[in-house]
Structures are given as structure tokens and as C-alpha cells.
């Protein structure tokens, strides 16, 4: 059983990405209603955080919030978990036990991993949600419950319906207000904000100052794929804060998995391409253009868009910079400027160190 713990809306990081801001605006709107919400997102994208936030911004916030992962229980156990049981209903049922629905009376129930609920249980769930009543296992009377239902799913339920693994009627009952959480790799612009937030939070619990973060680490974080999404980032930050001995987070602090993941496509991959048995064409112009635009983006970023200063940094004439910006198609502020900037900074650093 998961408990909401010390959830506070202040502990929720919105991030800069348009998608997340849209989601938070939507949460504000739907928290006023009592309709079912379904939150779809990969593991670690923050489904429970959003469910918590919905509850805590609603008029039910002083009532209980009960989160339960449907994946935790076997087919038989899930019914007693959700609906409770009467004394003597089965061997070991030595006393009455209220289910999660009853425990959430007046508040919100968050049924996570709804995609793991077996078909036989889905029909019982549908009945409970539709009639707003539950029957404890072994009981003859129904108990009416006033509960807002939020469900979480890591799979696309529509597809599961099409494949026959999820009941269509339950799907429509649950899918009144859908929220889709993007994976972290699709909103990389939020990684720096989240990183800083987690470092600060874990440093506070350890009673130390938040560590400084090197550009190489930021670069690695922005390039890594984060298959475990925000949860993985959070754990990475926790591990680093707990093990850091020098007050600065450097590449050496990172798990090698992140380092190798960030290095992909590896610099070695280029070499591999070149030494491959079957020759693969490499466009020199494209590669050079890539390097050029990265460096220009970096220079423009660190000089706050001042082109004269950027030209100085790159040791080229101001007029040349203008031409090259046009050639690289950097006229508009590129959306990946942050990442490109950090990458360029990383490429630049060893050279600076070498020339120093």
C-alpha cells in the first residue's frame, strides 16, 4: 500500500516545456470536477504526482487520498483489497476489513496500473464505479461510496480495448478526462529544472548545500535517454548527493550507464562507421555544419545573444558570424539551444584546458 506521505503541491515541479504547462493548466481546470480522470504515461513520468495534485487542488483535499497499485495484487486479492471483506468470508478472514474504496470515502482513490487488472475484475470495478457502491467480499449488503476515481495506466488503454484485453465499457467509464504524461526524453528542456530541484531537495535532507553541477554533467543528463523517466532522474540525483565528497557534481559522479548512454551516438561510432567492412558514406559537410552550428549556438548563448561578443569568442569577424548564422539556419532561436550550447561547451572545455 502506498501512502501519500508528505505530499505538498509546492513539491511539484512544473518545468518549462509547453506540454507540461498545458497539463498543469488542465489539472487546475479538472480538479474542480468530480469526473473520472485517467492518467496515461510510462513508468516514472509522475502519474501519482498528478493524481495527488488533482486531489490536493480539489474540494476533497481534506478527505482521504488513497493510492493503490493494482499490479501488486493477485487476481483474488485485488477484490478484497479494493472492496474489503467480511469476517469469515474466507480462510484467514478473522475480522471485517474495509476496502480501499471505503477508506477513500469522501475523498479520492487513485487506481494505478489499471492496465494490469484482470478482465474478471474489470467488470466488478465497472459496477462499483457506475453505481457508486461496493460490496465487501462475503457481504450481502452494498455500501455506498462517494469517491472520485483517478486511474493510472502505463499502456494505451484504447489499444488494449482493440486487442480485447480491456473492457470497452470500463474504458469509457474511466476515460472522461484523459491526461497523457510525456516521457522525460520528449521534454528534455525540463531536465535542468528537475535536476536542480532534486539536488537541492536531497542536499537539504542531508543538511548540506546544494552541489554545483558541471556543464559536462548537464550535457550528459540532457543527452541520456532516461528510460525510467523522472523517477530515474530523481534516483540519480539522490545517489549523487549521498555519495558526493567534493561539493561539485562532475562526470565522475555519474553512473557509467548515464555516461555511456549520453555518449550515444558514440564518438567511436563515427570511427566504427569509417572502419566498417562495408563502407558507409559520411557527409563531411553535414558533420562540419553540425559542429559549426553547435559552437555558434553556444557562443550566442553565453554572450546573451550579443553577436559581436559571440564573434569575439569564436575568433571570427562579426560580419562572418552573421553569414555563418544564416548558413547554419540559426536565425531563429533554436529550441535545442540549451542542449546544443552545453554540448558545445563540453567540446570546448578540453580544448581550453589543453591550451591553458
Amino acid at each position: 500500500m502506498r501512502t501519500p506521505g508528505s505530499f505538498s503541491p509546492d513539491n511539484v515541479v512544473v518545468g518549462h516545456s509547453a506540454r507540461m504547462r498545458a497539463i498543469f493548466d488542465f489539472v487546475k481546470v479538472v480538479s474542480k470536477s468530480d469526473s473520472s480522470v485517467i492518467i496515461t504515461g510510462e513508468s516514472g513520468t509522475g502519474k501519482e504526482v498528478i493524481a495527488n495534485l488533482l486531489h490536493h487542488s480539489s474540494s476533497r483535499r481534506h478527505q482521504p487520498f488513497v493510492a493503490v497499485s493494482c499490479a501488486l495484487f493477485s487476481e483474488n486479492l485485488i477484490e478484497t483489497e479494493l472492496f474489503g471483506h467480511e469476517r469469515g468470508a474466507f480462510t484467514g478472514a478473522i475480522k471485517d476489513k474495509p476496502g480501499r474504496f471505503e477508506m477513500a470515502q469522501g475523498g479520492t482513490i487513485f487506481l494505478d496500473d489499471i492496465d494490469d487488472v484482470p478482465l474478471s475484475m474489470q467488470v466488478k470495478l465497472l459496477r462499483a464505479i457506475q453505481n457508486r457502491t461496493v460490496e465487501r467480499v462475503g457481504a450481502t449488503r452494498s455500501i455506498s461510496v462517494n469517491v472520485r476515481v483517478i486511474t493510472g495506466s502505463k499502456r494505451d488503454l484504447r489499444r488494449m480495448v482493440a486487442e480485447g484485453n480491456f473492457r470497452e465499457d470500463l474504458y469509457y467509464r474511466l476515460n472522461v478526462l484523459p491526461i497523457v504524461l510525456p516521457p522525460l526524453r520528449d521534454r528534455r528542456e525540463d531536465i535542468p529544472v528537475l535536476t536542480d530541484f532534486f539536488f537541492k531537495r536531497f542536499a537539504r535532507t542531508r543538511g548540506i548545500d546544494a552541489p554545483a553541477v558541471s556543464p559536462a554533467v548537464r550535457y550528459a543528463f540532457s543527452r541520456y535517454r532516461w528510460p525510467g523517466n523522472v523517477r530515474e532522474l530523481e534516483n540519480a540525483c539522490e545517489r549523487i548527493v549521498q555519495t558526493c565528497t567534493c561539493g561539485t557534481v562532475r562526470a565522475g559522479c555519474l553512473a557509467a550507464g548515464v555516461l555511456f548512454g549520453a555518449a550515444d551516438p558514440a564518438p567511436g561510432a563515427v570511427a566504427a562507421e569509417l572502419t566498417a567492412a562495408e563502407p558507409v558514406g559520411v557527409s563531411l559537410d553535414d558533420r562540419l555544419l553540425e559542429v559549426e552550428s553547435n559552437l555558434i549556438a553556444w557562443a550566442l548563448k553565453v554572450s546573451d545573444g550579443n553577436k559581436s561578443r559571440a564573434a569575439e569568442l569564436l575568433s571570427i569577424k562579426r560580419s562572418t558570424l552573421g553569414d555563418r548564422i544564416t548558413r547554419c539556419g540559426l536565425q531563429e532561436a533554436p529550441p535545442q539551444a540549451d542542449v546544443a550550447g552545453d554540448m558545445a561547451a563540453v567540446e570546448e572545455l578540453p580544448r581550453l584546458a589543453a591550451s591553458a
Binding site: 558541471s214 556543464p215 559536462a216 554533467v217 550535457y219 550528459a220 555519495t243 558526493c244 565528497t245 567534493c246 562532475r250 562526470a251 565522475g252 559522479c253 555519474l254 553512473a255 557509467a256 550507464g257 555516461l259 555511456f260 549520453a262 555518449a263 550515444d264 558514440a266 564518438p267 567511436g268 570511427a271 566504427a272 561547451a345 563540453v346 567540446e347 572545455l349 578540453p350 584546458a353
Partner: protein
């Protein structure tokens, strides 16, 4: 018998990031199917860096080079 080149190729992937932070992972010696490496620079004295790199790099080497056996941090 693993070759120096094979190991350097794997290490080379994370090297730019290490170097950007004023550190490096140096391949000191290859003995049989084992590699001896040393951390230098900023992270050389950090026990955590040794631990994470030791485990992660060894795993990466084993993944990519079938016959690789052991990474020794010297």
C-alpha cells in the same frame, strides 16, 4: 586476448565527458583479458567515482568485448 584498441574504443566513448570535467580514465595496462585503469584529475580522489566507474565501465567492457574478464583500478 583482448586488445588495447578494443578497450580504448569503449573508454573513448565516455572520455570526452570525463575530460570536460578535468578528469580522465587512463588505460595503464592490458594483461590477458584484464585491463588496468587509473582515474586521473578531478575525480581521482573520490571514492564514489571509483565505485561507480569501476562497476559501470567493467559492465560496459564485458558487454562489448566477449572475452573481457576484469577491470582493475590501480
Amino acid at each position: 586476448m583482448v586488445s588495447r584498441d578494443q578497450i580504448e574504443t569503449v573508454l573513448g566513448r565516455i572520455r570526452p565527458l570525463m575530460q570536460a570535467d578535468g578528469g580522465d580514465i587512463v588505460l595503464v595496462d592490458v594483461r590477458g583479458n584484464n585491463a588496468h585503469v587509473r582515474l586521473t584529475g578531478m575525480c581521482a580522489g573520490c571514492p564514489s567515482a571509483h565505485m561507480t566507474l569501476y562497476m559501470g565501465v567493467e559492465m560496459a567492457l564485458r558487454d562489448e568485448i566477449k572475452e573481457f574478464e576484469e577491470l582493475v583500478v590501480v
